[in-house]
């Protein structure tokens, strides 16, 4: 063999080896990673910017803090006054740290009787693991045996001033905790709230003479008004869409397929659907990821929550894509199982000037499913609202709302129709029967903003101030001033 031919053969072998090494290198770099959820996006954020993330402690606040002043007079503490919650937690942490802390189970009747006196009851719409929550808040509970599994609410009653009551909603249990710590600071909190202006609430039985203790406000004055909103992302904003998509697929974005449907929905797909990003025409975003056979390790509740918080922060951020700053909060959390692997679904809402925002149709603003240390699903429908509009709300003149009691009397037949359609049959033969049998089912009455897709067949592009009536998982929205039914009701967790 001549020397030039040998050299050419060596070159050929060398090129083949390089080619094979390239393929192997690409394979290892594209393989599933455990760090998808917290990968820093390329070119989405300036390298000098820090990613704004809410603290878990700021997200996890009671969904309701009810104060009983005695003789049926109540109030529900507004979010702007949650400094009282911080003061409450401070006293409770000192209380739990006493060496002679005892814990005994009590009955619901005892709980109801205790909170029938001057009292505070802070309640969450979800269950938190009790011991993990204490650890997260750096609170030491000095008890030999803590039988409390979950924490859904906490109460203090002036009827038993040496005690705190914990409510475990998952197991429907109540616990009385006793220590020698002086809890009179909590009396001061109740007095302070009472002495400042508050919106009065009374149990519905006081208004109606019916068996329902759901708190109902008398008419209130509010600064709320209709607010125009836009989508945070539109299907024609190609550059913005690409930037957002890159945060999900990272360096592998060049190998992602893009499918545009006739409906206007854009889908980005990696591989054979291992990762899918869907951008709907209405601005809603959904990301799904197959868990595959990658090794799984369960995370604790708060580690899962932190993973979810980080993921949102790096995939769209906690503001709208156009920078609208709305205050987020944890609205709901529940354990889930996907492909025999356990995890959590976290649903986050946003607050507009102290009032929660609801999306009709059971939609959510932010929803994350965390399985082990992976993100299995992420849904997002942030509204884009002008910052000037948000800032101006605090200067709006106060207007009298329609009395919720009159919304109930004017709309009880509509409510009956809605509930019947949802499978809840309201018995009765007369209108009074229907009114009473509907009223006893009301579980919650709140003020908030509601985004409806359309009213009277017209796309409105607005969120409306509303009285929200809830029966179980069914939410009904009524214009806060006119009492008009705002949208078709939805089942499932309301609010965003």
């Amino acid at each position: 063999m001549t020397r030039p031919i040998q050299i050419e053969r060596v070159k050929t072998i060398f090129i083949v080896v390089l080619f094979l090494m390239t393929i192997l290198l690409l394979y290892f770099s594209w393989k599933d990673s455990f760090l998808v959820g917290i990968k820093i996006p390329i070119d989405f954020l300036s390298q000098e910017e820090t990613i704004p993330l809410p603290f878990s402690e700021d997200l996890i606040k009671p969904n309701e803090i009810m104060v009983n002043f005695g003789s049926d007079a109540h109030t529900i503490v507004a979010r702007k006054d949650y400094k009282y919650w911080d003061a409450f937690v401070l006293s409770v942490s000192e209380f739990l740290n006493r060496e002679n802390l005892t814990i005994t189970e009590i009955t619901k009747n005892q709980f109801d009787e205790a909170t029938g006196y001057r009292s505070i009851f802070a309640k969450f719409d979800y269950d938190l693991p009790f011991k993990d929550t204490l650890a997260q808040l750096d609170i030491q509970a000095n008890a030999n045996n803590i039988p409390i599994e979950m924490f859904t609410g906490i109460a203090y009653s002036t009827a038993i001033q040496d005690s705190i009551i914990i409510y475990d909603g998952k197991n429907q249990k109540y616990y009385r905790l006793v220590s020698d710590y002086d809890l009179t600071a909590l009396n001061t909190i109740i007095d302070d709230i009472e002495n400042n202006s508050f919106d009065p609430y009374f149990p519905m039985r006081v208004f109606l003479g019916l068996d329902n203790s759901t708190l109902m406000p008398i008419s209130v004055k509010t600064e709320m008004k209709e607010i125009a909103y836009g989508k945070e992302i539109n299907y024609y904003e190609t550059e913005k869409i690409v930037k957002l998509a890159q945060t999900f697929f990272g360096e592998g974005f060049d190998f992602v397929r893009k499918i545009t449907e006739s409906s206007g929905t854009t889908i980005y797909m990696y591989g054979y659907g291992q990762k899918i990003l869907i951008l709907n025409k209405d601005g809603a975003i959904e990301y799904k990821e197959e868990l595959g056979e990658a090794s799984y390790s369960a995370l604790s509740y708060f580690d899962s929550l932190n993973l979810a918080v980080n993921f949102i922060g790096t995939h769209g951020s906690w503001e709208s894509l156009n920078g609208t700053k709305l205050t987020p909060y944890l609205k709901d959390a529940e354990p889930i199982i996907i492909d025999n692997k356990s995890g959590y679904r976290f649903i986050f809402g946003v607050i507009i000037n102290d009032h929660p925002l609801y999306l009709d149709g059971g939609k959510q603003t932010l929803s994350v499913e965390v399985i082990g240390n992976r993100i299995a699903n992420y849904k997002r429908q942030m509204l884009d609202i002008s910052q000037n509009t948000l800032d101006s709300l605090t200067n709006e003149p106060l207007r009298q709302t329609m009395d919720p009691i009159n919304i109930l009397t004017d709309n009880h037949m509509e409510m009956k129709t809605v509930l019947n359609a949802a499978g809840i049959i309201i018995p009765g033969t007369t209108e009074t029967d229907f009114f009473e049998n509907t009223s006893v089912l009301i579980d919650e009455i709140k003020m908030g903003y509601v985004k409806t897709d359309e009213m009277d067949g017209i796309q409105t592009g607005k969120v409306y101030p509303a009285w929200i009536f809830r029966v179980g998982d069914i939410y009904m929205y009524f214009d806060i001033f006119s009492g008009k039914l705002l949208s078709n009701p939805n089942q499932g967790p309301g609010g965003v």
Partner: protein, 182 residues
Amino acid sequence: MKKYVFAIVLIMIMLISTSIAFADTDPNVIVVNPDQYGTIYSDSLLVSVKILEPKTIKVAFYEEKQIKNGVAVAINVNNINEQLDLAELKDLTSEPVYDKETFVSTNKLSFYTKRVEGITPGLYRLRVDTVDSGGKILFTSNTHLIVKDKSLEPAAEESLFKAPQLTTMQILQNFFKNIFGN
């Protein structure tokens, strides 16, 4: 014999006086809150009246005071717990907390509600008149309310947090749970 006659006369007076108070009440106008001769330990109150037909009502809320030495004084309700005691009070005068508020109901079902604030311990009376289009009073109801100081609200009963008596089955269940867990 005289004692029996006196007792009979007293009972008759009480029956007649209460019957006069209630004979002209409108069956379609119901005072939901406050309860007749109810007691509250608060300085505020929710008045709620249910109206079952389109009609006009006028609502007034008075404090009943006693004239003593020519001066109207609040009635000391702290030692009064009996309806009979209140019915026997004399030399009463009514001072309006709010006077004759008109509410027009146009529906078959509606509620008049009002939160009354700043009330001090004493005896109060809620008066509800049903009136016709000319303002003539057709029916009247009076509901009395006792307002006491918050500090006098009865404390929780000692039995509130006594451990409930467990049944034999519950004791056995707890025993096995302790051994085997849930």
